[in-house]
Symmetry: C2
Subunit: 321 residues, 2 copies
């Protein structure tokens, strides 16, 4: 099943269930490149210690983008004595969420791009319809932005609608605007004196640059105000979830605690942590880096005290196994 920004939200419950049911998982990533230093074949070799391999990849591979994430869930069917396999192919792209969100830069390596192109890889699907994501720090920042705005509009924070020049007293209205302002004041005053439950008053349209803008003033009772606040909060929560995007799948894999297998998998695990969680720990903090390798496959378990420390600081404790 192909998953892009277009069908991500609708597919999420299917993905969650598949992870939930599974006995074990397999993952594979496609990247925009492998090495920004030594050429790919010289970067690593079979005699590397786990620490050496980790440090080389951390130094030379992390500025590339993981832009396709493959997930297979394997569930053993006792009655049929066979595995039921579900496959998901996620296209990933750090589409900027708004004007203040991070504008990610990533490196592309011609030989990697050329290889993917020769295999029919669909770059348009990545760049046009890739699912966005946030790492933990970015998620926390965005959450804080929302909370700050919310506390402002509740009146419990510093109200942002007081003009910084308000201590100068009321401004004087230029002659040519006096009639217009008078008309608006009249409309607003009539809104306060009427007992009618009115939807509000629409001030004159303001023709802005490129699009029409207008100011609407509404009178609402307490119940209506609370309903609107709740609505806004729900909308914000949804926006936040959309921005966290693909990272939610990684959180689900991590929370499941299930075994994850893959081929030449250290790079995939490192990119996954780096892109969807946090900065990779230095090697001196990687107390528990186990490897169990066979020629064609690898099972990794990374438990970094540094990483737990970081994630713990955020009040979230997750293990990626």
């Amino acid at each position: 099943m192909e998953v892009t920004r277009t069908n991500f939200k609708d597919s999420l419950s299917t993905v969650y269930s598949a992870i939930e049911e599974a006995d074990f998982l397999a993952i594979d990533g496609e990247f925009s490149g492998i090495s920004d230093g030594p050429n790919v074949s010289a970067l690593t070799n079979g005699l590397d210690t786990p620490e050496e391999r980790y440090m080389k990849l951390k130094k030379h591979s992390m500025d590339f983008l993981l832009f396709q994430f493959g997930l297979c869930t394997f569930t053993y069917d006792q009655a049929e004595s066979k595995y039921v396999i579900k496959t998901f192919n996620f296209y990933i792209f750090p589409k900027p969420f708004n004007r203040t969100s991070p504008d990610t830069k990533f490196i592309c390596q011609s030989s990697s791009i050329d290889f993917l192109a020769s295999q029919g890889f669909d770059f348009n699907k990545v760049f046009r319809h890739g699912i966005p994501y946030l790492n933990q720090e970015e998620e926390v920042q965005l959450r804080e932005q929302y909370e700050e705005r919310r506390s402002q509009s509740n009146g419990s924070g510093n109200p942002s609608y007081i003009s910084p020049n308000s201590n100068k007293g009321p401004g004087s209205i230029p002659e040519e605007h006096r009639e217009y302002i008078g008309r608006v004041v009249e409309k607003v005053e009539s809104l306060f004196t009427t007992s009618e439950k009115t939807k509000g008053v629409l001030c004159d349209d303001i023709m802005g640059f490129q699009k029409e803008r207008y100011i609407q003033i509404s009178k609402v009772d307490d119940e209506e105000r609370k309903r609107r606040e709740r609505q806004k909060q729900e909308r914000e929560q949804e926006e936040l979830n959309d921005a966290v995007g693909f990272s939610r799948v990684i959180h689900a894999i991590s929370k499941s605690g299930k075994l994850v297998v893959g081929h030449n998998m250290l790079l995939d695990v490192m990119h996954t942590i780096h892109q969807f969680y946090c900065v990779l720990p230095e090697v001196q903090n990687t107390h528990h880096l186990y490897m169990n390798t066979s020629p064609a496959s690898a099972i990794f378990e990374i438990r970094s005290s540094h990483w737990q420390q970081r994630t713990g600081r955020r009040g979230v404790q997750r293990n990626l196994q």
Copy 2:
């Protein structure tokens, strides 16, 4: 007219003629990003001096890829009193030429990629069918590689076919290969003694990894040898031209000496020089950086003594106007 790797060679004479006939040219580039430092709106401002603008763009914009190059040629038709316009849209990608050719790394900026995606930009066309290119230094290196190989096969250089271990005397043939080697020696000897003009002898096939390999030994007279050398040289020249690729269009624009106009064009000119010619000169060497700007368009003329020096060193003197 869209030009990709697929139709580049067939279109080249049309492009050359259009440049040749034109009264002036217009260019525009699309890039994989704008700034790897300050955000795009903060990078430059209207009060920059030419030197400041140049230095900022040189520092923060040159690691992105120019991956689409638009060219319009304008030719005045006296009889009709109007301009005849020809448009070319080149897709550019540094596809590695062979295993020793440069494996270019370039940065992508999410906001730029997202903007291009929203405008329907076709990334697959760039990465699957983009025209390759070489800058002057890479072209010279490749030319030297070819010349070295040619002089070796002419016997005038160090012959590369002498095994580095040949001073140890003839190797001994292992028992299990003796029959096979004997059969091959017989075939080759019969080739020397026969007066027949034979095409050669095909030694036993060798099954290599993934593809069939074989060794063919041919007997040729002097005339045939020269014909083959000529053929090989022509093939190499064509390979070299293919590798220089899109840079040939830039060379033609440059050689034409025609006026080139564009919008916000400093960035386009800098990318063009950086990608298809050579490293951009430091500002202290940019003795002649003239700008003549109007709000919506710009005409630039860059004449760098540093650049002329570099290109002059290669025996080529080109001005990009």
